[in-house]
Amino acid sequence: MKENNEQLSALVDNEIVDYEVFDMQLLDELITNQQQQKQFSRYHLIGDVMRGDVSDQFLNIDISQQVMAKINKQTPSAQVSELDTAVNKTGTKEGANIVSFAKRFSQYAIAASVAGVVVLTSLVTSQPGVENGSQGLEVLNTVPFGGAVSPVSLQATHMQSKQVIKERNERLDALLKDHQLQLQIQP
């Protein structure tokens, strides 16, 4: 086996000088033996890496998927089951993909247009909006610029605790960011 590997390595590196000596059996084995095939491709990969031919992407994805698969095995996603009304089960592997994507995702792209929205949200209410006209709607409707009125009065609804409001803001923030993310990855 070891000897075979050596020969394989030589084959990959084009180092076989004397083809007479080179065991034709090895090639036959390569065609049939899966283990050998893997070894063969691994040698090629090593060669590629050393020559710098491999794109980072190829390597990274390979690793991250393996890692994420392991992580997912350990923590079966619990939140999926509680939501069968709105959303179907989403495969764990896909989730892994998204997580790695989100980690890369820079704040700037999403923050650019929505930053600060959430700081202002929920806590702020005003009189029923002029535009929507209906009663009892909370509207935050500030004049964009030019220094005109900003009807921003602080009137947190009595029923909600600070904690709830905070959680809610975080979720709205996530929605806005996701909106930006979806815009960005729009085909």
Partner: protein, 338 residues
């Protein structure tokens, strides 16, 4: 304008001289044709201006400095655009605060930000500042907008003409687009609501057009890009179990899937994206996590609205640059797919 007239006159004289050698009858015809083109150039219609703007925005080499105003905040930004090897290249950056840049070239867009790892996405759509009006199909858009020439003015030291895109109903915002009369490049874009309040404004303060592409862009086009991220498309194969039964004129459903809110506990949501060529609207349908005191809630900033509606144990959120009435009507029309 005088120069232009002079030029056309010269051209006519030339044509007359050239063709009189051959046929006298043809001469008069040629003159008529050139007179017609003069008339046409003097009275472009609004839609012709807009279409010329689209072409210029794509084809020219230019650099603009502009201000983006939103609720008392003014953000200065820069865009350098050029054409390298018949392909558009656009470099964008924020001028104040942390370094935030992007580069779009050859079907890819890369984002760079101070302190985070840069990344690249595949993207064929132009993403730069005026891209929504530069990509819009104005002929089709006549179903939902009227285009009216408002008048002339001066922006960024250039002669400008203002064109209003007036929404035909209350379900979308209206816009005023200012164009440079010489190059047709956009100089200012106002987003207006029904009562003509400016919700969002982009205003160019400096415009430089050059014959040749900016050497910096040429250099950038040869630069190696950061790692290309593959999009989490896998999770989007399954359509959401919801549908929107009413759409404002011109809007289409362009995405319908289920994914997770990666920024928030990986919460699963059903997702529908609507688009009318100018704005994109996201519809989220999810389980109700935190009950609101009231059934609905509206948050608005500039042109962006976030409308939340709760019914039963379902929560619907709508995000996008649309008036509140539109969001409300959309919510009312959402139904579960049987």
């Amino acid at each position: 304008m005088k120069l232009k007239l002079l030029f056309t006159r010269l051209l006519t004289v030339f044509l007359v001289a050239a063709s009189s050698a051959i046929f006298a009858a043809e001469v008069s015809e040629e003159v008529k044709v050139s007179e017609k083109t003069v008339e046409k150039e003097e009275a472009l219609t609004a839609i012709e201006y807009l279409q010329l703007m689209q072409k210029s925005y794509k084809d020219l080499n230019y650099e603009i400095l502009y201000l983006n105003s939103l609720e008392n905040q003014v953000e200065p930004k820069q865009l350098i655009h050029g054409v390298v090897d018949d392909q558009e290249i656009a470099y964008f950056r924020f001028l104040n605060g942390a370094m935030r840049e992007s580069l779009q070239y050859a079907g890819k867009i890369s984002y760079f930000e101070q302190g985070t790892q840069a990344y690249t996405l595949e993207s064929t759509l132009n993403r730069s500042v005026f891209s929504n009006i530069a990509n819009f199909d104005y002929v089709k858009g006549q179903d939902s907008y009227e285009y009216i020439i408002l008048g002339k003015g001066r922006i960024a030291g250039k002669q400008a003409i203002a064109i209003r895109m007036l929404s035909k109903d209350e379900y979308r915002y209206s816009y005023i687009i200012w164009l440079d009369v010489d190059s047709y490049l956009p100089l200012r874009l106002d987003t207006l609501n029904k009562s003509n309040l400016i919700l969002d404004q982009v205003m160019v303060v400096s415009l430089l057009i050059s014959e040749k592409v900016n050497p910096w862009l040429e250099k950038l086009s040869k630069q190696q890009l950061p790692q290309l991220l593959n999009l989490p498309r896998a999770s989007q194969q399954e359509a959401s179990q919801w549908k929107v039964n009413w759409l404002p004129t011109g809007f289409n459903v362009i995405r319908n899937d289920q994914h997770k809110l990666v920024m928030h506990e990986n919460e699963p949501v059903s997702y529908i994206m609507l688009n009318d060529g100018i704005v994109s609207v996201s519809v989220y349908i999810s389980a109700k996590k935190i009950a609101l005191d009231e059934k609905q809630k509206i948050i608005q900033r500039g042109a962006t609205v976030l409308y939340t509606y709760q019914t039963g144990d379902i929560e619907i959120n709508i995000v996008g640059e649309i008036p509140i009435v539109t969001a409300k009507r959309l919510v009312e029309s959402i139904a579960k797919v049987e």
